[in-house]
């Protein structure tokens, strides 16, 4: 098995304050990985690093496929201007960017792909609707249709089921399952632990530093969750420089890793 993503002593953050601290490990190709942790644990930061929106403060991310277009990303709060006069069809069609680019035409094959994607998320009949008229759930369905068309090998979903009703999240998770079946690598940030236990084989528990990473059952233990909650609470405005730049040993996949920033004695 090859890694779709490999983190090497990765530190990401803002204004030199780490939000993800000394993360090591690999996401195997075809993995269905839940990224869990309290608010402020660095989940969104990690995803922004993976898609290249922010640069690492230290360490690096190795992508199995160097083409950045092979990573599709659904941000937690998309910066979509909902008043812009554009309809659902055109919005979903953006997913074909890799195929069509700035100038490529949308031919009959593409049109049928767009229609299939819209049908797959249950939005048939909404093609001509302006995006301003969509509900939160419909908006999320539309964005999933666009992800479908992006046809990326790595898909990064940042809290995709927030503020979405049970029916919608079940429908959308069916798509995630389908991607998993197609051996795409899917990373999902999510807060519903029961849902994670039921549906995700592998989990990364993050609390700025990685607390545990491996099989979901062995990661989501009460002890680990407690550690995660404690670790996230302190954010020191006057933090000292991080004392060490050593790279901790890479955790073998499937193992529970407690990599990180132990104080230097």
């Amino acid at each position: 098995m090859t890694a779709a993503l490999r983190f090497r002593n990765l530190t990401l953050g803002y204004d030199r304050h780490p939000a993800v601290h000394h993360l090591d490990g690999a996401v195997e190709t075809g993995a269905l990985l839940a990224v869990v942790g309290p608010n402020g644990a660095g989940k969104s930061t990690l995803f922004k690093g993976i898609v290249g929106v922010i640069k690492p403060l230290a360490g690096r991310i190795e992508r199995g496929d160097p083409n950045p277009q092979n990573i599709a990303y659904l941000p937690q709060a998309a910066e979509i201007d909902r008043t812009f006069p554009i309809n659902v069809y055109d919005m979903v069609a953006m997913g074909l960017w890799r195929r069509a680019g700035s100038f490529g035409g949308i031919d009959r094959a593409s049109r049928s792909l767009i229609e299939q994607a819209i049908a797959a998320v249950g939005l048939s009949g909404f093609e001509e609707r302006a995006i301003a008229t969509l509900s939160g759930g419909q908006m999320q369905r539309m964005l999933f249709a666009r992800l479908l068309l992006q046809d990326a090998r790595v898909i990064v979903l940042d809290e995709p089921f927030n503020a979405v009703d049970a029916k919608t999240s079940a429908d959308l998770f069916d798509l995630v399952r389908r991607w998993h079946g197609e051996r795409r690598t899917v990373l999902t940030a999510i807060h519903d632990m029961d849902f994670v236990r039921a549906n995700f084989p592998e989990t990364l528990l993050l609390a700025r530093e990685p607390v545990a990473w491996g099989r979901t059952a062995s990661v989501l233990t009460p002890g680990n969750l407690l550690v995660a909650r404690r670790m996230c609470e302190a954010f020191d405005q006057r933090a000292e420089l991080c004392p060490e730049e050593q790279a901790p040993a890479l955790a073998p996949p499937g193992e529970v890793a407690r990599a990180g920033n132990q104080p230097v004695p």
Partner: protein
Amino acid sequence: MLHEIFIAPFTEFEFMRRALAGALALSLGACPIGVFLMLRRMSLVGDAMAHAILPGAAVGFLLSGLNLFAMTAGGLIAGFVVALLTGLVARTTELKEDAALATFYLLSLAVGVTIISLKGTNIDLLHVLFGNVLALDDQTLVMIAANATLTLIVLALIYRPLVIECVDPGFMRTVSRAGGPAHLAFLVLVVLNLVSGFYALGTLLAVGIMMLPAAIGRFWARDTTLMIAIATASGAASGYAGLLISFHTGVASGPAIILVAGGLYLTSLLFGRVGGLVRQAFPGRHLEA
């Protein structure tokens, strides 16, 4: 009779034909640009850019008199510098586009006014401030037409990235690097059309032929393409009607054109199909589903 009012002024007087050609070319380029400015919530950016251009044109004027080339070059340089610096600062720092633009256009304005005050003023400068669509010479007309042509070509090239960059900049960033260049090219087009506009309408009113038709389009169309078509048509209609009014009543042509556009705008505000005030007050019975 009708012929005398609506057509004869243009068949009999060459300066009216030139003015009409200039006004039509101007609306072809400036109105689509205005629609994007409006959709990007940058409606006042045109105004700020017009201020940014003014000093450059004034410097060109002071250095070489009422010379089309020098003034255009000065205006373009000042505008491009401000547009590029704004884009760079907005993309790389915490300052948002509006704040970045405000700082640079005020600096540009201050530099320009300083230079003018050092060199002494000239009454002909009023020409630059208020423009004169009735005195377009061949050179100027060709320049306005060339700018309109270039605008339409470049807009066609960057249309898709520009639209995506407007609706969902985050998505654009993850799929392509074209968003930034498209935005910068767009800012350059804004400057180009303002320079065109200030020969016909003056620096102060050049923005009018961009923003008023765009706002009109917003009241009649729900999709971008139709909005651009409506904006361009109402810009052209304002040019034609404004010139006629100016011809028959003797009021200044630039303000007449903008006032016609303003009248169309107020009508749209009241009766527009998309969100017009009358429509909002009497929406009709609601539908079944």
